[in-house]
């Protein structure tokens, strides 16, 4: 590196008004990319986080409503394992619920859980409206602890305001819900429970759960494990549909899942001769990512589409910079001739303009990032102001389960944007710089070139 390659690009940058346009173009692109990437990445990562909280680290389960037997033995095995923090067996099924006094029936998913175990294995406890600090009593309605309680997905019970908040009462109101299920035998047949194939039981609203996952909050009802088991499953051997597992903090997800899968294989072999061993065949071991794949994939797909779109923005930036550099270099042909007349080589000329491009990219991206950062810091206030004054919201909070717009800027995103901007500028400057370097000084210094 030689000194004039620092001085001249700096002067080109400061003295040539046209370079301000290049800097501005880069700044705008950096601004847009930062804001959109931060919001999108934030939404996706928040969504993943919620799914992670909902499922725990790993799920051993079956999609079959029949469930699988011997789950207690496997939970005991898991709880002995040094890499497992907690495990929670779960009953999953579908049901119809109706509010007492109303004929309207709603199709819901039910999850039978032991609240203490489930909140140890997942983020369940954090989703509760009234019992965050005392999960053990969550199925005991405050108005009558002897009644069987149920936890409703928050959207089944409460309405979201326009700003995305729910209005809670001091304690859950006394509301009974009839829950009707079709109990299945271990063979998958409908059980003849009493005189009817449908088993119905009344539960009382004891709390609500807000996972932030619209499909869960709008259709899930938690019931006490044993009662859900009685409602949904018939037969002498107890069954569950899934076991949610949380790993110890220092255990990597893939490593933990592989260990669980290995344990499951051994367990399955051990139970091979047992009466209901066939039910174990449908059971899979999945990380939370795999378990919630159907929910996460569309979101990731959207993120990919956005990334592709911003790839086009980056190409546009390269083109703008290319045009600006063509204009700058065409104005600089005389200077190139002068520099060559004092011994500057072609490579030096390319490096000179590359240095110039580097400065444009660096300055432009830094300005854009600072602006973007400032905008993101205030994005929620700006949205609130727009909503208050013009009724504009980026997402309708009565529809979307989004709270604040994510605005946590990640350093790696900042670094990626700066590097991309500099690379885009270098790419844009490459062709004109190369052409500039190839110019013969006698041509550029001729009188008729002036």
């Amino acid at each position: 590196m030689v000194m004039y390659k620092i001085i001249l690009p700096t002067r080109f940058l400061l003295k040539r008004r046209i370079t301000y346009f290049a800097v501005l173009a880069v700044a705008l692109c950096a601004f847009i990319v930062l804001v959109v990437m931060t919001v999108m990445t934030g939404l996706v990562s928040e969504f993943k986080q919620k799914n992670h909280q909902f499922a725990g680290d790993c799920v051993v389960g079956t999609k079959s409503l029949v469930g699988f037997a011997y789950y207690e033995d496997f939970v005991a095995l898991l709880e002995k394992a040094d890499f497992v923090e907690a495990a929670s067996p779960v009953i999953k099924s579908h049901a119809l619920i109706s509010r007492r006094g109303s004929d309207r029936k709603t199709r819901v998913e039910i999850m039978g859980i032991d609240p203490v175990r489930h909140s140890r294995a997942t983020g369940f406890g954090e989703t509760l409206g009234y019992h965050k600090d005392d999960v053990s009593s969550v199925f005991r309605p405050a108005y009558d602890p002897n009644l069987p309680g149920c936890i409703l997905g928050i959207d089944l019970e409460l309405q979201r305001d326009a700003d995305g908040t729910y209005t809670y009462q001091a304690s859950p109101g006394r509301v009974g819900y009839s829950v009707s299920c079709l109990p299945l035998t271990a063979k998958g047949a409908l059980a003849q429970a009493g005189t009817d194939v449908i088993d119905t039981k009344t539960f009382y609203y004891s709390d609500n759960s807000r996972t932030g996952l619209p499909r869960v909050d709008g259709s899930l009802v938690y019931l006490p494990f044993e009662q859900a088991q009685q409602l949904c499953m018939a037969g002498s051997v107890k069954r569950a549909n899934a076991i949610h597992i949380r790993f110890k903090p220092n255990v990597r997800l893939e490593e933990g899942c592989a260990k669980v899968a290995s344990l499951w294989q051994s367990f399955k072999q051990e139970k091979a001769g047992d009466e209901q061993a066939y039910l174990l065949e449908t059971v899979t071991v999945q990380s939370w990512k795999g378990y919630r794949r159907e929910s996460i994939a569309p979101m990731e797909q959207e993120q990919t589409v956005m990334s592709v779109m911003f790839g086009f923005v980056a190409i546009t930036t390269v083109f703008i910079v290319l045009v600006v550099f063509y204009m700058i270099v065409s104005h600089k042909s005389k200077d190139i001739g002068i520099l060559k007349s004092v011994g500057v080589s072609n490579v030096d000329i390319i490096e000179l303009f590359a240095g110039f491009a580097f400065l444009v990219g660096l300055l432009g991206s830094c300005i854009g990032l600072l602006g973007g950062w400032a905008f993101l810091l205030k994005i929620n206030q700006i949205e609130k102001w727009l909503f208050d004054h013009f009724g504009f919201q980026l997402w309708d909070r009565t529809i979307y389960a989004i709270g604040d717009i994510p605005n946590q800027v990640e350093l790696r995103v900042l670094a990626a944007i700066v590097l991309s901007a500099v690379a885009a500028c270098l790419a844009g400057a490459l062709v004109p710089s190369w052409q500039a370097a190839r110019q013969r000084p006698v041509e550029t210094l001729q009188v008729n070139q002036l």
């Binding site: 590196m1 030689v2 000194m3 004039y4 620092i6 001085i7 001249l8 002067r11 080109f12 003295k15 005389k334 200077d335 001739g337 002068i338 520099l339 060559k340 007349s341 004092v342 011994g343 500057v344 080589s345 072609n346 030096d348 013969r440 000084p441 006698v442 210094l445 001729q446 009188v447 002036l450």
Partner: protein, 236 residues
């Protein structure tokens, strides 16, 4: 002066350019030798090829045929890096339109050749020397007070003196001046010629191109270029 003291020799130089469909032969076999310490004026009408000849002599351009020797070394055998070094260290160019860099001030324009030949560390090691040398040159050229000015703040004569300062920065053995007074009024041009004469008296070899016979008279030797060939040689 013996033949051994030739600093620059051109033998059988031919140069042609393509202009549209036609090939224009600018130089048609030019032979020229310049002694060390000489002040040679190359005179010719517009389009006679004198600027082309000067560019070839200073390795800014290459002949189609013939060779140029500097201190007995054939320039055509120089590598690209050697040619760049030759233009940086050995020759200094003065152009009709000054060709200063607008982004640099007067002092920076003068020490530009010293800066281009050095790495950042090398520059920091010699920058004091370079700046002092540039200031000395500006003082010699009567521009000591103009060091911090930008080229656009100077008159034509001042700009040309800055260009001379830049050409002399690396103490070149050969100074090539292409119509150095062509863009100046006669009084200012005279001042520039006095500078060149003074440099020559101090031992500087100068080759100057001009279309003006009166200006050429200021040189010790005049070479006339007519239709791409040396027609007439005259020594004062």
């Amino acid at each position: 002066m013996s033949k051994n003291e030739f600093i620059l020799e051109a033998e059988g130089l031919h140069k042609s350019y393509r202009m549209g469909a036609t090939q224009v032969r600018v130089l048609k076999g030019v032979d020229l030798a310049v002694n060390k310490g000489e002040f040679v004026a190359i005179v010719g009408a517009s389009g006679s090829g004198k600027s082309t000849l000067l560019h070839i002599l200073g390795a800014l351009d290459k002949p189609n045929e013939g060779l140029v020797k500097f201190e007995k070394r054939d320039l055509s055998r120089f590598s690209t890096a050697e040619l760049n070094k030759f233009r940086n260290k050995t020759v200094g160019f003065v152009f009709q339109f000054y060709h200063l860099l607008d982004e640099l001030n007067v002092l920076e324009n003068v020490y530009l050749p010293a800066m281009t030949g050095k790495s950042v560390l090398g520059w920091f090691a010699c920058r004091r020397w370079a700046k002092n040398r540039a200031r000395d040159l500006l003082a010699q050229l009567g521009l000591a007070e103009r060091a911090k000015h930008k080229p656009y703040q100077l008159s034509g004569g001042e700009r040309q003196r800055v260009a001379i300062g830049r050409a002399l920065m690396n103490e070149p053995k050969l100074l090539l001046a292409d119509e150095p007074t062509g863009n100046l009024d006669s009084a200012t041009g005279n001042g520039i010629l006095e500078v060149l004469e003074r440099l020559n008296r101090a031992g500087q070899t100068v080759v100057m191109v001009t279309h003006d016979e009166r200006i050429a008279q200021r040189a010790r030797r005049i070479v006339t270029l007519v239709d791409g060939k040396i027609e007439h040689r005259h020594t004062r």
